[in-house]
C-alpha cells in the first residue's frame, strides 16, 4: 500500500494530524461564531497559526531521540535564562511582565518551560543509574531542575504556570519510579500546607478567585461573574445547543473571554452537550495516543517524555474544563486547539511534535527489527 504514495508522505503521522485538524478546525468554527460570525479577528488567525505550528511540529517529527537528548539541557538552560531575563527586565523597567520581546516575535518563556521541564527531568532520570532511584541522589537534582523555573515563574507572578511546571516535573519523577511513599507524604503535607499558603501566601485577589468558584452566586457581579456566566452558557446550551451563531451569552458579551479561556463555554452554548462530548472524546483520543506511546516506546527517555508531555496537555485540558464548568477556580489556562492564543498553541504543538517524533522513532525501530 505504500507503493502509490511516496514513502516520506506515507510515513507521516496522518492519524494524529487528522485528529488535530478536526479539533483545531472546530476551533476555527467556534471562533468564527465568537467573533459574531466573522473570520476576523480570531478565526482566520487561529487557522493560520495552527498551520504554522503544525509545520513546526512536523519539523520536530523529523528529529530523532539522540538530537532531543543532546539539546535537552542546553534548551532548558536557555529558557531558564530567558525567565531570569524577563524577571530582570521587569525589575528594571518597573512592573511585572511575562513576555520577552525579541523584535520579530514575543516569547513567553514560561510557556516554553512547560515542555522543557518534562524533557529535562526525563533526561535526568534517564541518565540516573537504575540502582540509585531510591537514593537521595534521585531526588535533589530533580527538585533543583523544577525549583529554579518554578520559583522564577512564581515571581512573575503566575501561579497557574508554576503549578503546571511542578506538576509536569513531578509526574515524570513519579513515573520514573521514585518511591510511592514520597508522593503519599507529599500529598499529605500539601493538604496541610495548602490552607496555610491560602491564608498567608496568596494575595487577596487570588484568595477571592479560589473561594468564589466554590460559591459563584455569592458575588455574581464580581469575582464569581466569570464562572457564573460560563455555567449559564454551558447549562443553557442543553442537549443540542442553541444552534450555531445563536449563542446569546457569547454574542451579547455576557461571557467574558469567550474566545480564549472560556471558548469551551462559547462552544457548548451553541453545540450543547453533544458538542461538549465530541470535544472531550477528541481529547481522550489524543491523550490515549500519547500514553500509548509512553507504554510502547522503546527507550526510557522516550517513555518518560511521552508520558510527561501527554500529562502536560492533560493539565491544560482538565484544568480549563474544570474551570469553565465551575469545578476549579478561574486560572488563566486556555483550552488546547480551541482557545485563541499563540503562546499556548506553540507549547502544545511542541509537545505534539516531540510525541510524533517518538512515534516515528518507535515505528522505525520496530520496522528495523522486523526487517
Amino acid at each position: 500500500m505504500s507503493g502509490i504514495i511516496p514513502a516520506p508522505i506515507a510515513q507521516m503521522p496522518w492519524k494524529i494530524i487528522f485528529l488535530l485538524l478536526v479539533i483545531a478546525g472546530f476551533g476555527v468554527v467556534v471562533l468564527y461564531s465568537a467573533a459574531g460570525g466573522s473570520m476576523s479577528p480570531w478565526a482566520a488567525r487561529h487557522g493560520i497559526r495552527f498551520a504554522v505550528f503544525l509545520v513546526m511540529a512536523l519539523v520536530l517529527w523529523r528529529f530523532n531521540e539522540k538530537l532531543f537528548k543532546f539539546f535537552t539541557f542546553p534548551v532548558y538552560i536557555v529558557i531558564a535564562l530567558m525567565l531570569l531575563g524577563v524577571e530582570l527586565m521587569g525589575a528594571v523597567g518597573g512592573g511585572s511582565q511575562r513576555w520577552l520581546d525579541l523584535g520579530l516575535i514575543r516569547i513567553q518563556p514560561s510557556e516554553l518551560m512547560k515542555p522543557a521541564i518534562i524533557l529535562a527531568v526525563a533526561r535526568f532520570y534517564d541518565m540516573l543509574p537504575a540502582g540509585q532511584i531510591r537514593t537521595w541522589n534521585a531526588i535533589w537534582p530533580a527538585l533543583l531542575l523544577m525549583g529554579i523555573p518554578a520559583s522564577l515563574v512564581l515571581l512573575q507572578p503566575d501561579l497557574g504556570t508554576t503549578l503546571t511546571i511542578l506538576a509536569g516535573g513531578m509526574t515524570v519523577a513519579f513515573l520514573a519510579g521514585l518511591p510511592l511513599r514520597l508522593f503519599v507524604i507529599g500529598a499529605a503535607s500539601l493538604a496541610v500546607i495548602a490552607p496555610l499558603a491560602y491564608f498567608f501566601g496568596l494575595e487577596e485577589y487570588q484568595q477571592r478567585r479560589v473561594t468564589t468558584f466554590l460559591d459563584p452566586e455569592s458575588d455574581p457581579l464580581g469575582a464569581g461573574y466569570h464562572i457564573m456566566q460560563s455555567q449559564i452558557a454551558i447549562g443553557s446550551g442543553g442537549m443540542t445547543g442553541k444552534g450555531y451563531l445563536q449563542g446569546s451569552q457569547s454574542h451579547l458579551d455576557y461571557l467574558p473571554e469567550g474566545h480564549t479561556d472560556f471558548v469551551f463555554a462559547t462552544m457548548a452554548e451553541e453545540w450543547g452537550l453533544i458538542g461538549g462530548f465530541a470535544v472531550i472524546f477528541a481529547f481522550f483520543l489524543l491523550l490515549r495516543w500519547g500514553l500509548g506511546l509512553a507504554v510502547n516506546a522503546k527507550s526510557r527517555y522516550s517513555k518518560l517524555v511521552a508520558a510527561g508531555l501527554t500529562t502536560t496537555m492533560f493539565f491544560y485540558i482538565a484544568i480549563n474544563l474544570m474551570m469553565v464548568m465551575g469545578l476549579a477556580p478561574v486560572v488563566g489556562i486556555p483550552l488546547p486547539f480551541l482557545s485563541y492564543g499563540g503562546s499556548s498553541m506553540m507549547t502544545i504543538m511542541i509537545c505534539i511534535g516531540i510525541l510524533m517524533s517518538i512515534e516515528r522513532e518507535m515505528k522505525y525501530t520496530r520496522r528495523s527489527t522486523l526487517s
Partner: protein, 667 residues
C-alpha cells in the same frame, strides 16, 4: 507485583536496599502510567458527568438565567395627561424629547463620567452643581436627570460613546412642558424625579424607570394618579454592557387622562404678567358657579425649570428673594383685608336691622374707650350713611355702628361670605386666616373681647387675616348672593351655586355702594373699565403693616413696611358675572391694586385694549416675566461670584467691597 512487595517490605528492612534493575523500572513505569491514564480518564468522566449535569439536569435553571441576561424588560414611562384650560388650551403638555439620565449604582467612576458628560453636553456650572447634589443625595437605583431637551446631534454623540459611560441612559421620551411658564407655577406645581421617600411609600418599579417623573406640587401632585397613566413595556435584547441589540416586543403606554381646569389660560397669564414686579395675588371667579378663571400668585417660579431639575443658582435665588416666589400667595398668603371687608360689614349691619340711611358725623376720628381711632381721612367725611361709608371707605361710620351691632353679627356674616373658611379645593394646603370674635379671643389669648377689637375688625385690621382667594369668594358671594365655592376643575355643565339667603335688597344696596366706589364719588374712580357699557362694583383696601412711626406706609418707606394694597370687585354691575380680588403685598396702598383689577377685567371684555396697557407697562418694567427673570438671575450670579471673590480676598479688602445687604427692590 515486584514493586508492590518491595514497598511493603521497606519499613522492616531499612538497611538492605534491593537492587533495582532497568526491567523492574520499566514495569513500575507501565503500572504507574496505567494509573495515570486511569486517573486522567476518571477526570474525563467527571467532566463529562459534570457537563451533563449542568446542561441536562440543571438546564432549565441556566436557561432562565441566560434569558434574564439576554432580555431586558424596560418600562416605558406613560405620557402624562395634559392639563388644559376651560377652552382646551394646554396649560401643561408633553414635548417629545431627547434626554439623558444616569443611574448612580451602575456608574463606575462618577467624576470621570460627569466630566465627560459636561464636556459632551456643554453643561454649565449651575447644572453640574445640581447634578452633584442629586448624586450625593440619591439612593443609587433611582435615575438622576443629567439634561433634557437635547438635540439629535448631542443625543447621537452620546449614544455612540455609551460603552465608555457605564450608568448613563440616553432616552427618547417625553418631558413635561408648561407653555405659560411662571404664570402657572403655583397653580399647577411641577413634576420631578422620584425621591427616596416617595419610592418607599409606593414601591412601584415605574417610579425608578429612567425618564419617569411624578407630580411634586400643586395640581400635578394632587392629581398624580389620574395624570400618570399606565406604563408601556418593552422587551429588548441587551448586551452585557446594556446596549440594546434589538426590540423583541413592545406594549404601548396608556397616556394619563387629560384634566380640564376652570382656568382661562390667557387670563391666568395676563393676571400674572400684569402684577409686574410686585408681589401678590389675583383671583378671578365666575361669581355664580365658583369656577376659578384665574388664580395667579407672583412672583413665581418657572415650573419648566423645576421639572428639568432646577439649577443650584436658580433655586438659591428663589429661596433668598424677599418676595417669596416659592409661596402661593393666593392660598397661603395671609393679609389683613383692610377696608375690603366694609361691604361685608355693611351687610352684617343690614341683617342686624340697621337703617342704611342712619348717619354718623365723621370728624376724622372717633374716641373708643380711652383711645382715639382715626379715620383714614384726617379731615373727616362729615355726615356719613352706609353707602358713603362704603364708597368713601369712612372708618368712623364702621367704628361707630360696629359697637352698636356687636362683633358676633359681623363675624357670622364674615364666615357666611367665606372669610376664615377653608374651601374644598384640590390643593396641598391653604391658610384660612382668622375672623376674630369674643369666643375666639378668649380661647386663643384668654382675654376678654374689647370694644377696640371690634373697631379694628370692622376695618379689616387687628386679628383679621384672610387670603386673596377668600376675598374673591366674598366678592363673588356679594355679587351673586349665592353660596359660591371656588372650583379649580371644570364642571361638566354649568352648576349654579345655591342661594346664600341674604335679603336681595341688602345685597342690592351694598352693590350699588360698591358701584359708587368706582363710578360715583368713591375711592377708586380710576378703576372704571375702559369698556363701554360695562360697569363694575369694587371696594378698595389699604392694610397697614406697621405702626405709623415708620411713616404713612406709602411708596416712600422701605418695601417691607409699606401698606398692602387690596381691591375686590365684580362686573358687570347689573348682572354680575365675574368677581375678582387683587392683593398687592406692600404695594403702598389700594392704588397699587385696583389698576391691576381693572386691566384684568378689561382683558375679559377687550383683550386688545388690555394687552396694549400691559405692553406699555412691561416696557417700563424692563420686559416680560422671562426677560426680567433672566436679568435677575444674571445679577444674582454676578452678586454670588462677587461675594465669593470677596470671601477669598483678604479681610480688609472684603469690608470695602462687600455687597450691600439691602435686597434689590424692583420699583
Amino acid at each position: 507485583m515486584i514493586g508492590k512487595r518491595k514497598t511493603r517490605k521497606r519499613p522492616k528492612a531499612r538497611k538492605k536496599r534491593k537492587v533495582i534493575t532497568a526491567a523492574a523500572q520499566n514495569i513500575t513505569f507501565n503500572r504507574r502510567t496505567l494509573f495515570l491514564g486511569g486517573a486522567q480518564a476518571s477526570v474525563g468522566l467527571l467532566l463529562a458527568g459534570r457537563m451533563s449535569y449542568i446542561a441536562v439536569a440543571e438546564n432549565e435553571r441556566w436557561e432562565m438565567l441566560s434569558e434574564s441576561n439576554r432580555v431586558n424588560l424596560t418600562l416605558i414611562p406613560p405620557r402624562r395627561g395634559w392639563i388644559v384650560d376651560r377652552d382646551g388650551k394646554p396649560l401643561a403638555n408633553n414635548r417629545a424629547d431627547f434626554r439623558v439620565d444616569v443611574i448612580p449604582d451602575r456608574m463606575k467612576d462618577k467624576d470621570a463620567t460627569l466630566a465627560k458628560l459636561t464636556d459632551l453636553l456643554r453643561l454649565n456650572d449651575d447644572e453640574v452643581g445640581r447634578i452633584r447634589k442629586d448624586l450625593e443625595e440619591s439612593r443609587g437605583f433611582a435615575p438622576i436627570e443629567i439634561a433634557s431637551g437635547l438635540n439629535y446631534e448631542q443625543f447621537a454623540a452620546l449614544s455612540v460613546r455609551l460603552p465608555d459611560l457605564p450608568g448613563v441612559a440616553p432616552l427618547r421620551g417625553f418631558s413635561r412642558q408648561y407653555p405659560s411658564g411662571a404664570a402657572v407655577g403655583h397653580l399647577l406645581g411641577y413634576v420631578g424625579t422620584v425621591s427616596a421617600e416617595e419610592y418607599e411609600e409606593e414601591k412601584n418599579p415605574l417610579l425608578i424607570t429612567p425618564g419617569f417623573k411624578i407630580g411634586k406640587d400643586g395640581l400635578e401632585k394632587q392629581f398624580e394618579q389620574e395624570l400618570r397613566g399606565k406604563p408601556g413595556a418593552k422587551r429588548v435584547e441587551v448586551t452585557a454592557r446594556g446596549k440594546i441589540v434589538r426590540e423583541l416586543s413592545k406594549r404601548e403606554d396608556v397616556p394619563g387622562k387629560p384634566m380640564k381646569l376652570a382656568i382661562n389660560a390667557d387670563l391666568q397669564e395676563y393676571a400674572a404678567r400684569r402684577m409686574g414686579p410686585e408681589s401678590g395675588g389675583v383671583v378671578v371667579m365666575d361669581c355664580h358657579t365658583g369656577e376659578l378663571l384665574a388664580m395667579s400668585s407672583m412672583p413665581s417660579f418657572d415650573p419648566n425649570s423645576f421639572s428639568d431639575g432646577i439649577g443650584y443658582n436658580e433655586y438659591g435665588m428663589l429661596r433668598e428673594d424677599d418676595h417669596v416666589p416659592l409661596r402661593n400667595k393666593v392660598l397661603k398668603g395671609l393679609f389683613p383685608p383692610g377696608s375690603t371687608v366694609k361691604p361685608m360689614v355693611g351687610l352684617a349691619f343690614l341683617e342686624a336691622g340697621l337703617d342704611p340711611n342712619e348717619t354718623v358725623n365723621c370728624s376724622g376720628g372717633l374716641r373708643v374707650g380711652n383711645r382715639r381711632f382715626n379715620c383714614w381721612n384726617r379731615r373727616g367725611h362729615g355726615r356719613v350713611d352706609m353707602a358713603k361709608g362704603i364708597y368713601q371707605s369712612c372708618d368712623v361710620y364702621f367704628y361707630y355702628f360696629a359697637q352698636r351691632i356687636g362683633m358676633n353679627a359681623i363675624a357670622a356674616m364674615a364666615h357666611k361670605l367665606g372669610l376664615g373658611e377653608e374651601f374644598p379645593l384640590p390643593v396641598t394646603s391653604q391658610f384660612y386666616g382668622t375672623v376674630p370674635d369674643p369666643a375666639w379671643k378668649q380661647k386663643k389669648y384668654n382675654k376678654s373681647w374689647q370694644a377696640f377689637d371690634t373697631v379694628n375688625a370692622t376695618i379689616g385690621q387687628g386679628y383679621m387675616l384672610s387670603n386673596p382667594l377668600q376675598l374673591a369668594v366674598m366678592s363673588s358671594r356679594i355679587a351673586s348672593g349665592r353660596n359660591v365655592m371656588p372650583k379649580l376643575l371644570m364642571p361638566k355643565k354649568r352648576i349654579l351655586a345655591p342661594n346664600l339667603y341674604i335679603a336681595p335688597e341688602h345685597l342690592e344696596y351694598v352693590r350699588n355702594a360698591m358701584a359708587d366706589v368706582v363710578h360715583g364719588p368713591g375711592t377708586a374712580r380710576r378703576a372704571a373699565l375702559p369698556v363701554p357699557n360695562i360697569k363694575m362694583g369694587g371696594k378698595t383696601g389699604t392694610a397697614q403693616v406697621v405702626g405709623l412711626q415708620f411713616g404713612r406706609g406709602g411708596k416712600d418707606v422701605q418695601w417691607k413696611f409699606r401698606d398692602h394694597g387690596l381691591f375686590i370687585c365684580f362686573a358687570p354691575l347689573d348682572n354680575p358675572r365675574y368677581a375678582a380680588s387683587v392683593v398687592i403685598e406692600h404695594g403702598g396702598g389700594s392704588g397699587a391694586a385696583y389698576p391691576v383689577a381693572r386691566d384684568v377685567l378689561t382683558f375679559l371684555y377687550d383683550r386688545q385694549k388690555a394687552m396694549k396697557t400691559l405692553e406699555a407697562l412691561e416696557a417700563s418694567w424692563g420686559g416680560t416675566i422671562e426677560q426680567r427673570a433672566e436679568r435677575k438671575m444674571a445679577a444674582y450670579i454676578a452678586r454670588k461670584n462677587a461675594e465669593k471673590a470677596a470671601a477669598n480676598a483678604p479681610p480688609a479688602a472684603s469690608a470695602a467691597t462687600a455687597p450691600e445687604e439691602q435686597p434689590e427692590a424692583d420699583n
